[in-house]
């Protein structure tokens, strides 16, 4: 899956979590929690959705480090999805 496909998936999942926001408008370096005003529950649900859609495991430790679009993209690519 190329970067833009991954990005589309991330944006689609974020949009489901952060209703009424526009994840596509975020830069790669923006903090998602702040930019989209999502809390820990939203974040967890986002990662759950992501892991189930892409069939990967996102560990507890990793979750805390994934704060920007860039970091998530990078992480997913490293997981070779």
């Amino acid at each position: 899956m190329n970067e833009s496909e991954l990005k589309d998936i991330i944006i689609a999942e974020l949009a489901k979590i952060a209703l009424g926001s526009d994840p596509a408008a975020l830069d790669l370096d923006d903090n998602l929690r702040e930019g989209l005003d999502i809390d820990s529950f939203d974040a967890l649900n986002f990662f759950i959705a992501l892991s189930e859609r892409l069939h990967i495991d996102i560990s507890e430790k990793d979750m805390g480090k994934l704060n920007t679009m860039g970091e998530i993209l990078h992480y997913l690519q490293a997981q070779k999805v």
Binding site: K16, L19, G20, S21, E34, S40, F41, L44, E60, K61
Partner: protein, 443 residues
């Protein structure tokens, strides 16, 4: 030369209408002659003259209405008349005296007026009674204006309508009193099937069942303003009526978070626990130890609730706040609690709460989570008697047993209703919360 004036022909005569001159200018007249006819309300009256001489200048013509006292004509002596005639029209204009203007006796009238005012002097008003007009009091109640904050501009500092309207404009208008009095909670309240909650509930959320995977974002306008009004009413009532006391304590969360991390490593992502699940469970357990904080103050009575239904403060993306109840928080396992919270948050955000969840909470917990600030001091949700505030967990220097280390620390606060409990109970609760969070494995 003398002036021949309109006579007063009766006490009620203001004016007469000149009907006819019986003589003309230049004619000689003598005392007792009828020289004019005047019509009054009592009929046409002939007017006689009281001088001897010559009718000189005439100022009014028949048909004209002449006020009493105004000069109708002048009567001159023969010499005067001839002199004037020879002096051509150099005759001095006879000044018509102005009608007597009687001052309306203003000073006297004012004295009378003032004496009347004094006669009905206001009775003394006792010091702690608010002087306010009935209308202003009614409007203040409608608008929810606190009278103790209004400056009166009426007589004696009385508050009047304009003062209330000014005060109401200066600060946000409160909605009518929240009618959110839970029934005394004993057993688990019956679950209300999903339906539109009554209007008086905290937020009028539409809760129709929806099969759409992605619920639409509701147009916020009406709904939001209604929620804003409800929050305004509840919080104002709280601040007005509840004497809050506040306490805080720092809790070392290092151990709890380590346990949680270890626990989560064993779990698939769907079953992982967030710190807030553990925190809520710890609060619920602490409340079983200090039950006085879990309940209501209604009609001057403290009612402790058997059920512990923690209202969990969920902020809405469009603005506003809902505190749906997690029924029997203390009876749930951590996994059950996680599922319950997950469900609740999802349904809150998608406007699918049940009315029982909106009305049944017995205490509110507000958790700032991993973002936000370190401390929160809450405003109790009436008629509840306490609110627990959990701050962001941060790394802080921690002194213990003579050594300094860095720990993950959370500040827990308690807002208590001093009518229902005292600081001692509050302290016991925070102490219990701390203890329970040091032993999360037992939760």
């Amino acid at each position: 030369m003398t002036e021949f004036k309109m006579p007063s022909l009766g006490a009620d005569m203001d004016a007469g209408t000149l009907v006819e001159w019986k003589v003309k200018s230049g004619d000689p007249v003598k005392r007792g002659d009828i020289i004019a006819a005047v019509e009054t309300a009592k009929g046409v009256i002939e007017i006689e003259c009281f001088e001897n001489g010559i009718l000189d200048e005439i100022f009014y013509q028949p048909g004209q209405e002449v006020p009493v006292g105004n000069v109708l004509a002048t009567i001159s002596s023969e010499a005067e008349f001839r002199q004037k005639a020879s002096a051509q029209k150099a005759a001095e204009p006879v000044k018509v005296p102005e009608a007597v203007v009687v001052e309306p006796a203003k000073p006297a009238a004012q004295v009378v007026q003032e004496a009347m005012k004094a006669a009905i002097a206001q009775p003394a008003v006792s010091g702690d009674r608010i002087r306010i007009s009935p209308l202003a009091r009614r409007i203040a109640e409608d608008l929810g204006v606190d009278l103790t904050t209004v400056h009166g501009t009426g007589p004696g500092g009385a508050i009047q309508k304009s003062d209330i309207e000014g005060a109401a404009q200066a600060k946000p208008v409160l909605a009518p009193e929240p009618v959110r009095v839970p029934e005394p909670v004993s057993a688990r309240p019956p679950e209300v099937p999903p339906q539109a909650p009554p209007v008086e509930k905290v937020a009028p959320l539409p809760v129709e069942a929806s099969t759409e995977p992605v619920p639409e974002v509701k147009k916020p306008t009406d709904f939001q303003s209604a929620m804003r009004a409800a929050i305004a009413a509840a919080m104002s009532k709280s601040n007005r009526e509840i004497p809050h006391y506040y306490m805080e304590t720092n809790i070392d969360m290092t151990k709890a978070l380590a346990w949680l991390e270890e626990e989560n490593l064993k779990r698939p992502i769907r079953e992982r626990l967030l710190p807030v699940v553990v925190l809520l469970k710890a609060v619920a357990k602490s409340l079983t130890e200090v039950p006085e904080l879990n309940g209501f103050w209604i009609d001057g009575q403290h009612q402790v609730s058997e059920a512990i239904n923690i209202g969990f403060a969920i902020n809405l993306r469009q603005g506003g706040l809902i505190t749906p109840a997690i029924h029997d928080t203390d009876m749930k396992t951590l996994d059950e609690l996680r599922d319950a919270m997950n469900d609740l948050i999802t349904r809150t955000r998608s406007n699918k709460l049940r009315s029982s969840e909106l009305t049944d909470s017995t205490i509110v917990v507000t958790s700032l989570g991993d973002r936000g600030v370190e401390k929160v001091f809450g405003v109790i949700y009436p008629p509840q008697v306490a609110l627990v505030g959990l701050g962001k967990i941060t790394e802080q220097p921690w002194a213990e047993n003579g050594t300094l280390s860095v720990r993950k620390v959370m500040t827990a606060t308690l807002a208590g209703d001093h009518r229902a409990t005292d600081g001692h109970k509050g302290g016991l609760f925070l102490e219990a919360l701390n203890r329970n969070l040091q032993e999360v494995e037992k939760l």
